[in-house]
């Protein structure tokens, strides 16, 4: 008995030479494909879910087109296309925004539950290729569903009432949304390890998919109806759409890399790609914001809005980078330098998050300053700098609460994230209550100085009673900055200590 390969059977010798050449080419082409794509598509096409959905989709589109045919038969000039286009899109949306993302989630979740995931990792495929193959296979299935609805969507164009740019715009947005939802679902499947956690994630995902399904359809309906009533694809629309598409694309990519990192083995440099994507996203977005700001005659609102939204985004993503585990595996330690911010470990994640928040706030404040030096620019600038400082304070507080105690009971990544939410909620909720209790205005400047919500609003608010128009003097921002510095320093030292302990022999 031997596991050594026996000589190939003579089956291939009986195949004619020409067809053997073709099959060889197919085989070579197949060998280049990601094995996961081959397996998942093959598996997916065998499931009952696929054929039931495909059949129902085709049937419903056929019935709708027959209704459309009957309704428009007698009229010389129909304008029903918009209605039928939307109806066909609803059918496709049910599958694209519901079935595909959920199946992608379920596929990866099962892979983790059954431990086939670790077997795949041992083959040397690597988590990126595995996840990439999974996402691609579900997008291939989505394309197969779309092939069933495509002719009907085109048919709606010939019913009049909808133009090609609108159809293309809807399909573009729908496609981007499908890709984003698939990435997000795959990422959700990596979030929980325990049974309860998995049940919660599944419930949350289903709820989110249902809610976003109706939101997407509402958006598409408003857009197609608006186009019918004379709404044009003007500059603002394209700017908004471009920003939306960029966010979907870059956040989808970030979610994908986060999922890859969560599924990587600890011996791998698992944080390098997600942190690079995060930095790349911040840099490219800032360049985009700068371009739009320049294009719109140095409009300070662009810089102000981008500063606040970007700051919130960086605080949210920073929560995940700072709550990484302490230290890194032995093979990775040798090449790590103080500036190796893309390497694993909460310490480097924290430093990167602080730098990104400060850099983003400084960049957007710089744009505001370059717009003009009016009181409004100063207020907006102070608000977005304050937001970044609050982010640093509360991230540091969560780390201090979770990782300073020697017991390490609240040191896990999930505990640190929960502590951040709890600290943020207390910081936002308690000071206004205290102000009211003391007989002051709920948004009192001093009591709410460290309130992440009211404080940010106060720094950006116009004060009619003050000749400068500033409700909060810049000195108070310095105070917040000082607190942020102290908190960040303390958190950094705690993380340094914990890393030393984790690396101790």
């Amino acid at each position: 008995m031997s596991t050594q390969a026996s000589p190939a059977s003579g089956a291939s010798e009986t195949v004619p030479v020409a067809s053997a050449g073709v099959s060889d080419r197919w085989e070579k082409w197949g060998d280049r494909l990601n094995p996961l794509v081959v397996k998942e598509v093959r598996q997916g096409l065998r499931t009952r879910v696929f054929w039931v959905c495909f059949g129902l989709l085709l049937l419903s589109c056929l019935v709708l087109s027959l209704i459309a045919y009957v309704n428009t038969q007698g009229t010389s000039y129909s304008r029903e296309g918009r209605t039928y286009f939307f109806s066909f899109f609803v059918c496709l949306g049910l599958v694209h925004f519901g079935v595909i993302p959920f199946n992608a989630y379920r596929s990866l979740a099962r892979e983790r539950e059954d431990e086939t995931w670790s077997l795949l990792l041992l083959t040397g495929l690597g988590p990126r290729r595995i996840l990439g193959g999974k996402v691609t296979s579900f997008l291939v299935q989505a394309a197969l569903y779309a092939s069933a609805v495509g002719p009907f969507l085109l048919f709606s164009y010939f019913l009049n009432g909808i133009d090609l740019p609108t159809i293309l715009m809807v399909l573009l947005l729908g496609g981007a949304w499908l890709v984003f939802l698939t990435f997000a679902s795959v990422c959700a499947a990596t979030l929980a390890d325990g049974r309860m956690g998995r049940a919660f994630v599944r419930f949350a995902l289903v709820a989110a998919l249902v809610v976003t399904f109706f939101q997407t359809l509402t958006f598409i309906f408003v857009m197609t109806e608006g186009r019918g009533r004379g709404f044009s694809f003007d500059r603002d629309f394209f700017l908004g759409m471009s920003a939306g598409l960029w966010l979907l694309l870059s956040d989808g990519w970030l979610l994908f890399e986060a999922a890859v990192a969560r599924l990587s083995l600890v011996t791998e440099n698992y944080t390098r790609h997600p942190r690079r994507v995060l930095v790349g996203q911040a840099l490219l977005t800032f360049l985009g914001v700068t371009a739009v700001w320049w294009f719109l005659d140095r409009d300070k609102d662009v810089a102000g809005i981008a500063g606040i939204l970007g700051g919130l985004h960086l605080i949210f993503t920073g929560l995940f980078t700072v709550s990484d585990v302490d230290g890194q595996s032995r093979p990775l330690r040798a090449g790590t330098r103080p500036w190796s911010l893309f390497r694993p470990g909460a310490l480097r994640g924290f430093r990167l998050a602080v730098l990104l928040l400060l850099g983003w706030a400084a960049g957007c404040a710089g744009l505001l300053w370059a717009s003009d030096v009016s009181a409004e620019s100063v207020r907006m600038g102070m608000a977005l700098v304050a937001l970044a400082l609050y982010g640093i304070i509360y991230l540091s507080v969560a780390l201090l609460l979770g990782r300073m105690p020697k017991s390490g009971r609240f040191a896990s990544p999930a505990a640190v994230r929960l502590l951040f939410v709890a600290a943020g909620a207390l910081g936002a909720g308690v000071p206004p209550l205290l102000s009211v209790f003391l007989g002051l205005e709920a948004g009192d400047e001093l009591i709410n100085l460290l309130n992440p919500v009211v404080g940010t609003v106060n720094f950006g608010r116009y004060d009619w009673n003050d000749p400068s128009g500033l409700r909060m003097p810049p000195e108070l921002l310095l105070c917040v900055g000082l607190v942020a510095l102290l908190c960040a320093f303390a958190a950094d030292r705690v993380l340094v200590r914990r890393e030393r302990e984790a690396h101790a022999p």
Partner: protein
């Protein structure tokens, strides 16, 4: 040089020490049984050896290369079969193996040949076009073993491979593993079914609470345990008859009156007698004590139809060295 060397392996999960200073080695072609109660640290050790986890301290060398520092280089040399076989729905046996062969980077004709060869070795050819979900547990276990062999690894790590298998499937698995060892592959098996391990393995490692309690060749483990306690166990079977129960009770009383008999228990229609000898006694003294006991029983008119020493097995050695604690 050993194919696998494990030195001072330690794994901490916070305050919990799952594996504590475990050291052992394995030659090519050897089969090592990894024994321990639930929670002893067997699966953690196997996961570290499979590069799915990293030790807190210690070193693992596979063919001279560090598994800890260069896991990517070590992975092609090892095959890991977890306690859950990990097969997919809606996939045939051939497709399943073909998928993993692709994942291991095998291409074209080489891949087909390898899949065929593994299916032939594991006896899966008649089931090639069957869905994996339609297979029995024993057959799914073969598919999992086939997957483990696709890239021709030098070290096989099998976590509870015989768990839940029927006797025939166990015997077939034993034959497959023997054949693999004869091909020069080193095999580590963790299992609770100790009688199986005794028949398959050349050597054993017993761990409890993450600590290594005993290791060595199976025969040495059995002998060392017996010598330490100076215990001889005998099985006495009386002829079945109308007064069998009464006769059994009489024999039990009589045996308990004998000087070296420490314990008598009834099991499966026989009496299990435990003799304790003096310090320094050897096989000669044990045989003499047994002969004296038999003479006494026969002299008292008891119908002894079988009288044999009960051979010490791996379960006894396991029970002797472990205390049933978990980490």
């Amino acid at each position: 040089m050993s194919l696998l060397e494990v030195k001072g392996l330690r794994r901490d999960y916070g305050a919990l020490r799952a594996v504590d200073d475990v050291t052992f080695s394995l030659e090519a072609g050897g089969i090592l049984g990894f024994i321990g109660p639930n929670g002893a640290g067997k699966s953690t050790t196997l996961r570290i050896l499979a590069t799915l986890d990293v030790p807190t301290a210690g070193e693992v060398l596979l063919d001279g290369k560090s598994l800890v520092d260069a896991p990517d280089q070590a992975r092609p040399l090892l095959g890991y079969m977890p306690d859950r076989y990990g097969t997919y729905d809606d996939v045939t046996v051939r497709e399943f193996l073909d998928f993993f062969a692709r994942a291991y980077g095998l291409k074209g004709a080489q891949r087909r040949q390898r899949v065929d060869s593994v299916m032939e070795f594991t006896g899966l050819i008649p089931l090639a076009e069957k869905l994996t979900t339609e297979l029995s547990k024993g057959m799914r276990q073969r598919v999992a073993l086939g997957r483990t062999l696709l890239h021709d690894p030098r070290l096989l790590l099998l976590d509870e491979p015989a768990d839940g298998l029927d006797p025939r499937a166990r015997i077939e698995l034993r034959e497959l593993l023997r054949a693999l060892a004869d091909q020069g592959k080193a095999v580590i098996i963790s299992s609770h079914i100790l009688t199986e391990l005794a028949e398959i393995c050349d050597s054993c490692v017993i761990i409890e609470q993450g600590r290594l309690l005993a290791q060595g060749r199976v025969e040495d483990l059995l002998r060392s345990g017996a010598d330490a306690s100076q215990v001889v166990e005998l099985v006495v079977r009386l002829a079945a008859g109308a007064e069998g129960e009464a006769m059994g009770a009489r024999a039990e009383r009589l045996l308990l009156e004998q000087p070296r008999v420490k314990d008598v228990t009834r099991e499966a229609g026989a009496l299990r007698v435990r003799l304790e000898l003096e310090q320094g006694s050897g096989p000669m003294q044990a045989e003499a004590a047994a002969a004296a006991l038999l003479a006494t029983l026969v002299a008292q008119g008891l119908p002894v139809c079988a009288f044999s020493p009960r051979e010490r097995n791996l379960e006894d050695a396991f029970m002797t060295v472990t205390k049933g604690r978990v980490a």
